[in-house]
């Protein structure tokens, strides 16, 4: 393998690794649940992208083409916001405390009971 490819692989792996690390640091460092959620949803996405790019470079040039990784990226991009949404919805449902300087707390509506206007199943 040529020298510059090794450099490219190393660069992408390091870039991805540091973004994943920053995402995890955010997870421990932030004061409340809602702020903690920001790290894993964003920094980790780009981090995974970097690692997968490194993997694509490595396997493409050590024999054959490797484009599986694009699929991983697509699925990651589709599922990450959904899981974040589910987590934050659950947090609101359980009325988790946000730190006191959070603004706009009155924008959260209290949970309403579901109207039972649907027909029961036979």
């Amino acid at each position: 393998m040529q020298n510059w490819i090794e450099w490219a692989v190393a660069f992408f792996l390091l870039l991805g690794g540091s973004f994943v690390l920053i995402g995890s640091i955010g997870l421990t460092r932030m004061p409340d649940f809602f702020m903690r959620l920001h790290g894993p949803t964003k920094a980790t996405t780009l981090g995974m992208g970097g690692i997968l790019l490194g993997s694509m470079f490595f396997f493409s040039l050590s024999g054959g083409v490797s484009v599986h990784e694009l699929l991983i990226t697509i699925f990651l991009l589709i599922t990450a916001p959904i899981s974040a949404h589910m987590l934050i919805k659950t947090a609101l449902h359980h009325k988790l405390k946000a730190i006191s300087k959070t603004r706009g707390l009155d924008n959260i509506e209290p949970a309403q009971s579901k109207q039972h206007d649907r027909k029961p199943l036979p």
């Binding site: 973004f19 920053i22 995402g23 640091i25 955010g26 460092r29 932030m30 004061p31 409340d32 809602f34 702020m35 959620l37 920001h38 790290g39 949803t41 964003k42 920094a43 996405t45 780009l46 981090g47 054959g64 083409v65 490797s66 484009v67 599986h68 694009l70 699929l71 991009l77 589709i78 990450a80 916001p81 959904i82 974040a84 949404h85 934050i88 919805k89 609101l92 946000a98 730190i99 300087k101 959070t102 603004r103 706009g104 707390l105 924008n107 959260i108 509506e109 309403q112 579901k114 109207q115 206007d117 649907r118």
Partner: protein
Amino acid sequence: MRFKPKFGWLPTPYRSVLLFIVWLLLNQSIEAVHLFFAAVLAVVIPLLTLRFRDPQPLIERPLLALRYILRVFADIVTANAQVAVLILGPKRRLNPAFVRVPLDLQHELPITILASTVSMTPGTVSAEIYPSAELIPAGEPMPQRWLLIHVLNMTDEAELIASIKQRYEAPLKEIFQC
């Protein structure tokens, strides 16, 4: 908004294209056999699964949709850099907030795409949609809906709402023509 597909045998053209590409990616080849099977699966799978799903609005402006995807990709990269800086910077300076964004979109699919985009882009995570679809009695007109988002560091609320509406919601309205 248009729900009825143009061709009966190809109810979801873009999903078919996606299936075609995914099959080729899984096989990692563009040999004739794989191209043939990809084409067959891309036509047969949507036809078989058509009855299981609710009708969804169709994409009316594919080129605009492509531009929207590229823009979101670029925003994800900048979002990552921004959030990384915010995470590593001093905690005292962060101003978290909950913000309500009034939505012009009505249908579930565009709203879902908007909420996912908001979650992936700078400093915001979408939290909830008010009022939720279960609370709206069937057959009644849709009331004004709101998207509740959590912002990691809010500087200007009005500007944030305006930028979300103009940058992401307006193209989505164009794409689905609603």
